[in-house]
Symmetry: C2
């Protein structure tokens, strides 16, 4: 099998996202979530409703940005489990935008998802629509990652000048931290103090600074993957084909060792092959996201490359907190964006960044 | 004995605070700390040095403020014990002022202490001097209190539009919270995330909004009390006279029940009278500050009136964390500013606000 292409292909860009696209966007975002990023269903409902009311949100590429454009990332911050119960208030994104514009000293024209993976890949379409902004066809990760430091702009060396958070009560906080580690630390403290969930806006980008510093085309890619999943009678194959992903194993979950530690889901899941894969055993190491696939003591794939466990029948992604004994699953793996494979990318989000004493070997596709 | 006068007399206002005044300011601020507000010694050294380098800082009264003036409160936030070890960085107050001015959209001319009691009553003199600002002869409490909500402007109904915090690392946070309870909650979260100590600026006031909403004359009062203490051969008597305070008992500490809970010192201290007070036993309830004095099951004095335990020989205040078995002490009590005795003042800082099921009886002086 040939090497997998970049996760951000430039082909087949959409011009807008409409209400009818949201189910596909959500299914695709869940696949790009690699087990994390939060359940997409609540965000899907809110986004469908927003786009039904406003009409489609224009999707613009980095190439289409002009000197008049200012892009800011918007995302939910907090435990995914809280996000299922605790909704945002109606004007929370307006408050966030107003404060971001005041701090930036210029109007914002375009929203970008911090991470295309999970709920944060879905919600920005609805937020942009309600705010009358464009949505950038791209994001800061090309997947989901657990920490603010693990962002493409940090790999590219673009600094984050400020961050704004708002909570459901109406509190607003503007943070100008010395780096993204401190931003992560302060944002978590505020989120916990606010009850577990906030919305945040950070990383003000321009046409110039966005180029080469974001993962491009990922909204279109998520919709494409979701459409393939929803349309096909063999969804796992269709999704793998669309992603250029390999199916590492198909089988049954025979063990889930999972604990919640410091706001993270940690543990491992073991899958015993069935059918053509009978006799094979794979273990996947998990920290919110699926990080490493091992078989017979060998690493098959690891971060920053993407590993997603999907339902073997429906093709829908199963997030790490929903994994359970007996589920019939397929494990997909595919290559990350080249940015994450640079020395700086691996320093921020390679196996060692998650505490694994493993050398990184780029995933080039194929089954063992 | 006649009722004690207000804690904010208008007589004998100072025109400035010089390096030579700082020892008296610190001794007086410790007395107004009613056991809390943080140890004054580190702030005294830093403030003496600042004023030696800059010359005296002008002290202005509320009456002297003009339409061109903008006043902001500046204070240390965090555990007093951390404040002894963790110093502020050289430019931390500059960062704070710059950000406060940017958020306010106008230049700040004058600093005010949040609380005259303890280290936060001393440090603003040095900060104002270094920043080239005036110091307001007044503060937000007329004493020390543990929470952001317990502030004179809150009693007077003046809202807090924003707060700025800076830490020793260089991180800056601007908070626009819906009320002071949320400010307290978020500020504490940030302080803990920043290692336990931050500097903060909040409550932007003008000549108009400051009138009737701050406790006036308290910097002058603290210096006067400190001078009386340092100059007299009978310091306890001299301090009591200067404050219009009563000596409730003089004796020996026979029990200290103290625990640290949720960032607060809580407990009680028992004092057995000696000399003329032999046979008397007083218990003082403590939550960071000295809150209630009981004798024979009766309340002699309680918050918001001021209760300070002083060394019976030197007259220096003993803070709640430094109380120990065997210390020879006198207990002083005097009337709070009338603002705290209003229904709103008592709602915010009366006995019930601290969880005591006691009716408030204004302290009118005298021994039992």
């Amino acid at each position: 099998m040939v090497p997998a292409p970049s996760a951000a292909p430039t082909r087949d860009r959409l011009a807008s996202v409409a209400s009818d696209d949201v189910a596909a966007l959500a299914a695709g975002a869940a696949i790009f979530g690699t087990g994390g990023g939060g359940a997409v269903y609540t965000a899907q409902l809110a986004t469908e409703r927003a786009l039904r009311e406003t009409g489609p949100v224009p999707l613009v590429s980095v190439d289409e940005l002009t000197a008049a454009d200012a892009v800011i990332m918007m995302s939910g911050i907090g435990a995914p489990t809280v996000g299922i119960e605790m909704l945002s208030s109606a004007n929370q994104v307006e408050v966030l935008l107003r404060e971001a514009e005041a701090t930036a000293g210029r109007p914002i024209t375009t929203l970008m998802a911090a991470e295309i993976g999970g709920s944060n890949g879905v919600a920005p379409a609805g937020w942009a629509a309600r705010l009358g902004l464009n949505l950038l066809d791209g994001d800061g990760m090309g997947r989901a990652f657990p920490e603010a430091t693990m962002i493409a702009m940090n790999v590219a060396g673009v600094p984050c000048d400020f961050a704004v958070m708002s909570d459901v009560v109406g509190n607003v906080v503007v943070m100008k931290t010395v780096d993204l580690s401190w931003l992560e630390r302060h944002a978590r403290a505020i989120t916990v103090a606010s009850g577990g969930l906030c919305l945040g806006a950070h990383y003000l980008l321009t046409a110039e600074t966005a180029r080469g510093a974001v993962i491009e085309g990922t909204v279109s890619a998520a919709v494409r993957v979701g459409r393939a999943l929803l349309a096909s009678s063999e969804p796992v194959t269709a999704v793998a084909h669309e992603l250029g992903a390999s199916v590492l194993v198909t089988g049954k979950i025979v063990d889930v060792a999972r604990r919640t530690e410091g706001g993270f889901v940690r543990g491992s899941v073991t899958i015993a092959g069935t059918g053509a894969d009978r006799g094979r055993l794979q273990r996947i190491e998990v920290q919110n996201e699926n990080l490493v696939v091992l078989e017979d003591g060998q690493v098959l794939a690891s971060v920053p490359d993407l590993i997603t466990i999907v339902d073997a029948e429906t093709g829908h992604a199963i997030s790490t907190e929903m994994l359970g004994f007996g589920q019939r699953v397929s494990v997909l793996a595919w290559a990350s964006d080249p940015l994450w494979r640079t020395p700086r990318g691996l320093e921020l989000a390679g196996p060692a960044a998650f505490g694994y004493d493993l050398p990184y070997a780029p995933f080039e596709g194929g089954r063992r």
